[in-house]
């Protein structure tokens, strides 16, 4: 009997957690941002958009901007430098984006390093996802 309750509880947890996962990553960034900076007052899609479109050019020469691969329009497919198509980043077109924390963190780590030559701040990441959710 105990087993059944346990399994039901786990199943229920999963069922409840899945749809909320996309924003839970954002929630985590929000908590983190608050801890890092007490005067933090929310993510901004505007800042996210600007960050996405800026030609940073402080990282590797081949990749000056996020748009180098993802194109200027987040609802369009991008292209890697090796010619492989990248599904759009906009949540409206690719609903499964920003749902897997390991994946999100992996690509922020890589892409920020390639484009900016440093890690992205928590605010940059949160702004970016917030912007993509509006797209």
């Amino acid at each position: 009997m105990k087993k059944v309750i346990c399994l039901t509880a786990i199943a229920a947890a999963f069922a409840l957690a899945t749809p909320a996962y996309a924003s839970s990553i954002l929630d985590e960034y929000r908590n983190q941002a608050q801890q890092e900076n007490p005067s933090f007052n929310g993510f901004s899609a505007e800042r996210g958009k600007a960050f996405f479109l800026t030609q940073h050019a402080t990282g590797k020469a081949e990749t000056p901007a996020c748009t180098s691969c993802h194109t200027n329009d987040p609802t369009q497919s991008g292209l890697t430098r090796a010619g492989k198509s990248i599904a759009p980043l906009a949540v409206s077109v690719s609903p499964d984006r920003y749902t897997d924390q390991r994946k999100v963190e992996k690509w922020f780590r890589r892409n920020c390093n390639s484009v900016l030559g440093r890690a992205c701040t928590t605010i940059e990441k949160g702004d970016f996802i917030t912007f993509m959710q509006t797209q």
């Binding site: 890697t80 430098r81 090796a82 010619g83 492989k84 390991r102 780590r109 890589r110 390093n113 390639s114």
Partner: protein, 368 residues
């Protein structure tokens, strides 16, 4: 009925004539595809080789079971005969022979022997180098390489022998006025007296049935003895993590050493950060240590994989560059390709690591 047959008896029975002209067509096809379109028409070349194999097997059988002049033991191969014939030739005459003349007979022996060796070496190349055909699982790559040299030498010898054969035919036809080409078409030679039993239609029919039988048995053998699947590598993690930006390359494309170098430099991977978390890193490194160009015995592993390059690129190996020298940057920037490292755009079998010629399909608009 008897009288005209005595005048011009059938010398070459139907199966032999059929053999002769089929072989002309098949050898012609094999030579053209072999010399001029080796990469693109390799399959056609090989099918011609298969057909030639059947024809040769049939000819060897027919050399014992055929009608009088088809049988090998009736070939005038004695030294005296050859010497006399050559002396006559020098004096400007050539006797009409019912079957082959002595020099012609040796020519046929030489041609058949060359063709047999050519076919055998062909199977060795096909199995060893391309990992295809009935010998694929038996023959290693290096052996296939040697086979190729022998195959090419034999092809040269064959071309020479065929030229001599044609020259002989021209001399016989135009200088000595022996219509031997016509004889190979109608089977009859006028004005000769034939030895042996006259050719019977039933015997010829039996010959054609033997030929069909040989073809059927051979096709059965070839299709049941299909190529072995390549020792396929598959590692989910590798396929996923190394397949995000470009196709995950088959492990046989780089040596253990080069893979290690690539793994060591992932945070600066050809101008990009491709770093991995520690567990994934370990798993992929272990995978590439156990599967790499040194553990595959294929053409690609030997010619691309085992040649290390300063930046670990397979696209910088001499072999790769030679094979792709007709493609331009414009070709690579085609929307369906994007980059030369997108092997799968043109090689439909890239994932299996085979890179067979017949699996190259260029997107529309790319010329080569």
């Amino acid at each position: 009925m008897n009288a005209p047959q005595e005048k011009s008896p059938i010398i070459w029975d139907l199966p032999l004539r059929f053999f002769h002209w089929s072989m002309v067509a098949v050898v012609f096809t094999a030579a053209v595809t072999g010399y001029f379109f080796e990469e693109w028409w390799l399959d056609v070349h090989v099918y011609a080789g298969y057909a030639l194999t059947c024809l040769l097997i049939f000819r060897l059988i027919w050399g014992f079971l055929g009608s009088y002049y088809s049988r090998f033991h009736t070939f005038p191969l004695s030294r005296n005969g050859v010497v006399t014939h050559l002396k006559n030739l020098l004096k400007g005459k050539s006797e009409q022979h019912a079957g082959h003349n002595p020099v012609g007979a040796w020519m046929i022996v030489g041609l058949l022997a060359t063709l047999c060796l050519l076919v055998v070496s062909g199977f060795i190349v096909w199995g060893g180098q391309e990992n295809k055909g009935p010998l694929a699982s038996l023959i290693g790559y290096q052996f296939g390489e040697w086979g190729e040299e022998i195959h090419e030498t034999l092809a040269g010898i064959l071309m020479f022998a065929i030229s001599i054969h044609l020259l002989g035919v021209l001399v016989e036809t135009f200088i000595f006025k022996h219509p031997i080409v016509q004889a190979m078409i109608t089977g009859r030679k006028e004005g000769v007296s034939a030895t042996g039993k006259p050719v019977s239609i039933w015997h010829s029919l039996a010959g054609m049935l033997i030929l069909i039988g040989v073809g059927a048995a051979f096709s059965y053998w070839i299709t049941t003895k299909q190529q072995p699947p390549m020792a396929m590598s598959s590692n989910e993690t590798y396929q996923q993590e190394c397949g995000d930006c470009h196709p995950a390359y088959h492990p046989s494309l780089r040596s253990q050493n080069d893979w290690q170098q690539i793994m060591n430099n992932l945070s600066d991977h050809y101008g990009e950060d491709a770093s991995l978390d520690a567990t994934t890193y370990q798993e992929i490194t272990a995978f590439l240590n156990s599967q790499n160009a040194n553990t595959f015995d294929t053409e690609v592993a030997h010619k691309v994989g085992r040649h290390d390059t300063p930046n670990q690129r397979m696209t910088q190996t001499r072999y790769w560059q030679k094979k792709h020298d007709e493609l331009t940057e414009t070709d690579y920037s085609h929307p369906d390709i994007g980059s030369k490292v997108n092997c799968n755009a043109c090689h439909k079998d890239a994932d299996s690591g085979r890179f067979d010629d017949d699996q190259i399909k260029l997107p529309k608009g790319v010329h080569s």
